[in-house]
Symmetry: C2
């Protein structure tokens, strides 16, 4: 429960806290672009300074390209528990710049929303936690539990080798609870806790045919064309009902419960409007499952690009020596990436025609995540959200993968609380990214409330 | 028949003629590269000057990018016939330069062969005709028939709009015979007349799905992925026996005669060695036809590239808004490009799944060519080749398309004599292109002989 003092403090400090968020948003901390390495470092240092001023012990731990900010407050009265708060300070590139109505790194408020790259993903969300800590310290003189911040700078480049980081730094990250705020409400006005995420296997399948590219006039009709052969293999990966046709692919898929099915059916979701917004009617995918089931509880196989031959303008009559497909499979509980890779390898072995040889390169293996949705920690988060946003809380899954959550679960042994504060139309990764003021202020209140609620467990 | 005087002249002038070919080879007349436009023009002017010195009336007709050299000698004693000689002075880009053993535009002789870009394709071949004309004029004081040269500068960029050029300039190109020397012997020591070429339809098939690129985590499983759908359509374009599965595709295919089958079986062709050289065993393609039948007398459908999604290094989890395949079909007599396009359109209509829309853009339509292999003109060419190379002559087809030949046949109404002087291992379009000295000198003699033989018809 939030004290009156805290409510008043938040009300009185809105403008200053907003201006401080603007400072954070002005760093062009684009992790994928080498010329912004100094901006990433400056951003991490600025965050470290903010936390140091609030009695956190702060370390900027150098990692592959950009440091991880690890900050710990350990002054809560024993026997205090500890909560780990994850966020990322790096952002997507802002391009195409000409589509922005205001410059991406010069935040402004328009129509009740903060417009800037990173406003919602993820600076606004992580900064709300920092400002909640400030409000608690200013109004109560101490925090009700110990808090560890884990703020990484390589999320937008896929958090490479994050598992190694967490394993190496497990001591500094140990906690009783973990909050991950890098997601959104299911709909405006509907605070949401995410309790499931899909995993992923991303790989490249290459078929090698002739030793060199060949002229399709001189040689067309006597060699196996690797592009045609690859198309045939990709086509065979789905059956007529839209199911993935790899043998054993669905063996470990956990069916959703009747309770989940009912709960999802009650979420405010208009399939027709959804399809219209995507510009594709009818929708596709596996038959016999609702849209939310297909997104949250059914695995997929998608092709993301095919390399080989000629992609330029006009015509080139080449039979390529080889062709490569970039493919990913989204995994749902309880699928295991290793088993999926083996099933894919077996499928390729069974379907590679004479005249080409196949090789597979696995880029990414991420496990699906499922958090028990009825734990005391989740209840604490639900109560905090309801208090801050004056609305009931939805439980939802998400079709995407957030590698950190699975690592918190598997390596640190903590069931993460995924409480995000964005809205579905925040234009993440796109021009005119925004974060609504009511979401920012609500997030600060919700964070303060969840810290208190968790402390009371 | 070659006179002794002519034979002696050719023998005595070998070195000078070779040095003149070197001059021609030094022009970096790369038609596809804008920075070589001046080189192309200079090359055309040089050729024009050569022909002007031999009493030809010469015009450099401006065309899209590089001029066509049209030169006519009309002083043969009436009632003289006219032969049109086609060649192209433009060349392929020489890249990758580091793989050349000597610079591509600094011709040298090594191991009995001229090494330079364009040596075989097509400067060496066209220049042999010019030097044959010189030899006839020098030894006989006149040509036995009128000769028109048609030397284009855009063959290596696909001779775009060549049909329009020929239609517009038909008066200047009219002739009784036509010689096209832009091909090769079936094997070393086996002079070859090509009497059939495949045609081609080249097109782009685009499937449009969602309005924008989508994140495969957030949306994977509920939209039709255009890349997966395209793979499925391409896969359906062949049946299990390697046949193209477009309805009606084979309706107009003319079966080869028993005589042709027997003749082809007698050509020196080692399938095992052929496959080993290509680095792909076993060979592919349509079952039930020999390699030469598949190359020369059976149509194909090949994919040359697929555009859409992500082709860069690493992973991107994108469901592309659209995907495009570059496809070509090689056509054999008596297939009609227009009918093939209609069959393709019908197939696409029948196979486009709900959730995507298809569009087709046709880039190229070229008809197949079949020349009666037993005409007096072909006999004249065979006799000339036998005389010049002291060997029997093979009749062969070729799987590639040479647009000029079909235009000569259809627009000018002349059955072209395809007598090429290259060898199969001349490294056309590749580093270290070469033209063997014996082929160059033999080609000059063969050209002189065929001009005399045709004059006698």
């Amino acid at each position: 429960m939030l004290t009156d003092a805290l409510r008043k403090y938040l009300q009185a400090n809105r403008d200053r806290q907003l201006q401080e968020l603007f400072e954070l948003l002005r760093f062009a901390s684009i992790s994928s672009q080498a010329e912004h390495e100094a901006d990433c470092l400056a951003c991490a240092q600025w965050l470290g300074d903010q936390l140091r001023q609030m009695d956190f012990s702060v370390e900027l731990k150098p990692w592959r390209k950009h440091p991880v900010v690890v900050a710990r407050y350990e002054k809560a009265r024993p026997p205090a528990k500890t909560v780990l708060v994850y966020g990322h300070y790096d952002v997507q590139p802002p391009e195409p710049l000409e589509q922005w109505h205001s410059p991406p790194f010069e935040p402004v408020v328009r129509d009740g929303a903060i417009y800037a790259r990173g406003a919602s993903d993820d600076k606004g969300q992580l900064f709300a936690h920092i400002k909640a800590v400030e409000a608690l310290l200013q109004t109560e003189g101490e925090l009700p539990l110990n808090v560890a911040f884990f703020l990484e700078g390589e999320e937008e480049i896929g958090s490479p080798e994050l598992e190694q980081f967490i394993t190496t730094n497990a001591d500094d990250l140990q906690a009783d609870f973990a909050i991950v705020s890098d997601s959104d409400f299911f709909a405006q006005g509907l605070p949401t806790i995410t309790y499931g995420l899909r995993g992923m296997v991303y790989l490249e399948l290459t078929l090698q045919g002739p030793a060199e590219d060949l002229h399709s006039g001189v040689y067309g009709g006597v060699v196996v064309n690797p592009l045609n052969a690859l198309a045939k293999m990709i086509a065979a990966m789905h059956d007529e009902s839209g199911k993935v046709a790899l043998p054993g692919f669905y063996d470990d898929v956990r069916p959703i419960s009747e309770a989940e099915r009912r709960a999802w059916a009650e979420l405010p979701f208009d399939e027709e409007r959804y399809a219209r917004n995507l510009g594709t009617e009818p929708l596709g995918g596996e038959r016999g499952h609702s849209v939310l089931e297909r997104l949250w509880a059914r695995p997929t196989l998608d092709c993301h690009g095919i390399v080989g031959g000629y992609q330029g303008p006009g015509a080139k009559t080449v039979i390529p020596a080889s062709a490569t497909a970039k493919l990913s499979m989204r995994l749902v509980p309880d699928m295991q990436p290793e088993r999926v890779v083996r099933a894919f390898e077996q499928f390729v072995t069974d379907h590679t025609p004479a005249g080409v040889t196949a090789r597979i390169k696995v880029n990414t293996k991420a496990r699906p995540v499922l958090v028990p949705p009825d734990s005391p920690a989740i209840d604490a988060a639900k109560a905090a959200l309801t208090e801050a946003f004056a609305a009931p809380v939805a439980l939802a899954r998400n079709g995407a993968s957030v590698p950190i959550t699975e690592l918190i679960q598997r390596i640190l042994g903590i069931e993460p609380i995924m409480m995000g504060f964005g809205l579905p139309d925040d234009h993440l990764h796109s021009p005119n990214e925004r974060f609504r003021l009511e979401q920012f202020y609500g997030a600060i209140a919700a964070s303060a409330a969840v810290l208190k609620n968790l402390a009371a467990l």
